[in-house]
Structure formats: C-alpha cells, structure tokens
C-alpha cells in the first residue's frame, strides 16, 4: 500500500509536477476543442458539397473520406510531422495534431451528415420545391435541421472518441498533459505525474462521455425521427 502511494500519489512529486501538467492540460483542452470545431464544420461543408452532386467533386470527397476514415490517427499524425518536411511543409506539433485529428473527424462527420441527409424521405425535397423553395433554401431550412438532429448521437460519439486522440500528440512532442507528465516522470524518477495526467484527462472526458450517454438516450434509437 505504501509503495502504491509512494509511486502513484506522492504528494511532493504531485505538487512539483502540477504546474507543468496543468499547462499541458491547457494544450489538451485547446487541441481537443479545435479538433471538434474544425472536424465537424469541415465535415458539414463536405456533406453539403456532396449534396450538390458534382461528379468530380464527389469523387474527391469520397476518396478523402475513405482515406481519413481508414488510416489510424497516429499514422496520419506521424506522416504529417515526419514525412511532409521532405517536401518543405513544416508544421508545428500543435498544427499537426489539430490538422490530423480534424481531418479524421471531418471524414467521419461528413459521412454521418451525408447518410443522415440521404436517410430523409425524398418527399421533403419534393414538398419544398412544390412550395417554391430554391435548392439552398430547401437544404438549409428544411433538410439540414432534420439531418443534424438525426446525426447527433453518432456524431457526438465520434467527436469524443477522436478528440481523445489529442494524447497522441505526444508522439510529435506536443506539450499536452500526458507528454508533460512523462517528462516530469523521467526527471524525478517517480510515476506520480502520470496519475495527475490521467486525472486531468478523466476530468475532461468523463463529463463528455456521460453527456453522450444522455444524448444517445434522448435522440437515440426509437426516440428520434
């Protein structure tokens, strides 16, 4: 028991590591939120572009979606950070992580939005056009409000799962909570800072996971239309 406390909850080490890990947590939160905003908004843009049904554009979108939905997040991060500099594209760890995870989330999000749009009855479009609505007006005031509602449970789960990938930024020395904790651990030869990082991550993600459970219950199977 003493050994557990000594190694996981060492008060002195925790106090020493706290400011650094807290700084790291700031980065974690910033990257996670940016990933969600970038991923979902770009995903929505892609889905809207796809509705316009231009063949060439759609082929590009489908390829983009398939690539980023299929590749492991860490592979995308490592590729951007370590391979792109060879063609003179140098991105900071922060930009790399946001871009990589944002691209992955946007691929999933666009697919979810697109499927939701497709799932709406065709009659919605017909009725709107019978009422004299133009394409964009139909899309924005009739179709999207319903599609977004339909998409919400799947979308929340994906957004949370992918923003948890922020920790992967350590692989390209992004100074987020986990990376900071690891560097303090190496210096003081005691793993208590890792406990701290885990606690920070849990503080951030437990409310999100609990909220997603509630959202799923509210909009989920058999409740939504």
């Amino acid at each position: 028991m003493d050994r557990l406390i000594e190694n996981y909850l060492n008060a002195q080490v925790l106090a020493e590591a706290f400011p650094k890990v807290l700084d790291g947590f700031g980065v974690t939160v910033a990257v996670s939120l940016l990933v969600i905003v970038v991923g979902i908004s770009f995903g929505l843009v892609l889905a809207i572009l796809r509705v316009m049904n231009v063949k060439v554009i759609n082929a590009f979108i489908v390829a983009y979606v398939d690539i980023f939905r299929t590749l492991p997040q860490l592979v995308v991060i490592i590729f951007i950070y370590f391979a792109l500099p060879y063609v003179d594209i140098n991105l900071s760890p922060f930009t790399t992580t946001v871009l990589a995870l944002g691209a992955v989330l946007s691929a999933f999000a666009s697919e979810i939005f697109w499927s939701a749009i497709k799932a709406l009855p065709r009659g919605q479009w017909d009725a709107a056009s019978a009422l004299g609505f133009g394409f964009f007006r139909t899309l924005f005031s009739i179709i999207l409000p319903q599609a977004v509602r339909l998409a919400i449970p799947l979308l929340t789960n994906r957004a949370i799962a992918i923003s948890k990938g922020t920790a992967l930024g350590t692989a390209v020395s992004l100074p987020e909570a986990l990376g900071q904790a690891q560097s303090v651990t190496a210096i003081v030869a005691n793993p208590s800072p890792l406990t701290l990082a885990a606690a920070f991550y849990l503080t951030f993600f437990i409310p999100l996971v609990v909220a997603s459970r509630w959202i799923e219950h509210r909009y989920g199977r058999g409740h939504g239309h």
Binding site: R3, L4, N7, Y8, D66, I67, R69, T70, L71, P72, Q73, L74, V75, I78, F79, F82, A83, Y86, V87, E111, I112, S115, A116, K118, A119, L150, A151, L154, A161, K164, G165, T166, A167, L168, T170, A171, L178, Q182, T185, N190, P191, L194, T195, A197, A198, Y201, L202, F205, I206, L208, V209, V210, R213, R221, G224, H225
Partner: protein, 223 residues
Amino acid sequence: MELFIDNFANLDSLKQIYPLLLQGLQLTFLIALVSLPLAVAAGLLIGIIYSFGNRPLNAFLIVYIDVLRSFPVLVLLILIFYSLPFLGLNLGGFAAVVLALVLNNSGYYGEIFRAGILSVPKGQREAANALGFSSIQTVTFIILPQAIRNVLAPLASNSLELVKTTSIASLVALPELLRSARVAQEQTYNPTPLMAAAVIFFILLWPAARYVARLERRILASR
C-alpha cells in the same frame, strides 16, 4: 512530381526496407489477433452480467464502462508501461499494449453489448423461461443472437478502431508496422517507408471501413 516520387515512392528505399515493414506488419497482426478476442470477451461478460439486473453491481459496471471510455488509450498504455516497473512489475511492451487495448475496449464493447442485450424485448427472456431454458441457455441461444444483430454496426466499427489503435504500440518502442516505418525512414533519410506503411494500412483496412460505413448508413436510414 519528381520531388514527390523521390520522397514518397522511392523504389530503392522501398527495396531496402521492405523486410522491416513485413516484420512490422506481422507484429501488428499479432497484437490485433491477441487483443481483439480478449476485449470482445471482456465486453461480452460485462454485458451479460449487466443483464442479470443486480442494482449495485450494475451501477458499478456503468462507472467502470464510463471511466474506461473516458481514458484515452495512450494515457492508459503509458501509465501501464512506465509506472508498473516502479512497483517491480515488468510487463514488457507487448503485454502492456495488449492490456491497455483490452481494458480500454472492454469499456466500449461492454457498453455495446449492454445496449444490445437491453434492446431485446423482455418477453423473449420470459418466453425462454417458460419453455424451461436455463438462464445460461437463454442468454446464449435466445438473447445474444438477437442482441448482436441489433448492435452489429457499433461492434464492427469498434473492432476496426481497435485494430487501428494497435499503432500506438510504436510509442512504447514495439516494432509494429508504424514503428518499423519510422525506423526505416531514419535509416534511409527518406519518408518512402512512412508512405508505404500508410498504404499498407489503407489497403488492409479499407474494405472493413467500407463495410462499417454501410452498416452505419443502414442504422440512420432505419430511424
């Protein structure tokens, strides 16, 4: 274009490093092959125990599921890999990765099976009871087949994510596909190996990704 080919599809570099990539791929397969069944089994167990409806136990299971779903798998892995040796427990990279993947995914699979089993109407269980099925028979032959069909999409999707997540093993110096590609890139001063690893991952996982997308589309369409 030449810059692109030199850097991302350099044949000399590829010839030199492909044995390394092949070895890496084997390890990636091995990690997935060991972790996936263990994680599914753990999740299934959680789902089945939940279905017995013991209140305090179920409250505990929900907390377990939500905590593990909130834990980024890399945080879990680093915690396991770097802190257990301080307690005199040296797991080694492979066991640490498997443990992290299984713990993390037991939460995900647990939630999926739990929801799946709950989605089967209560009458099924009652009818099975009336017909004299034991509770184990009821779960195995009546409840699970229906439950699994109801949650096939998240089940497939999560399994694909698990396989993709094996790449975090590279961060504890386990020479799976991604790590091998990084090593090869540093040896050859050329990122072709990274491109090759990405292409290999894509080719292997793409059919699964398409299948998952089709299942998810069906769910949305049925709402």
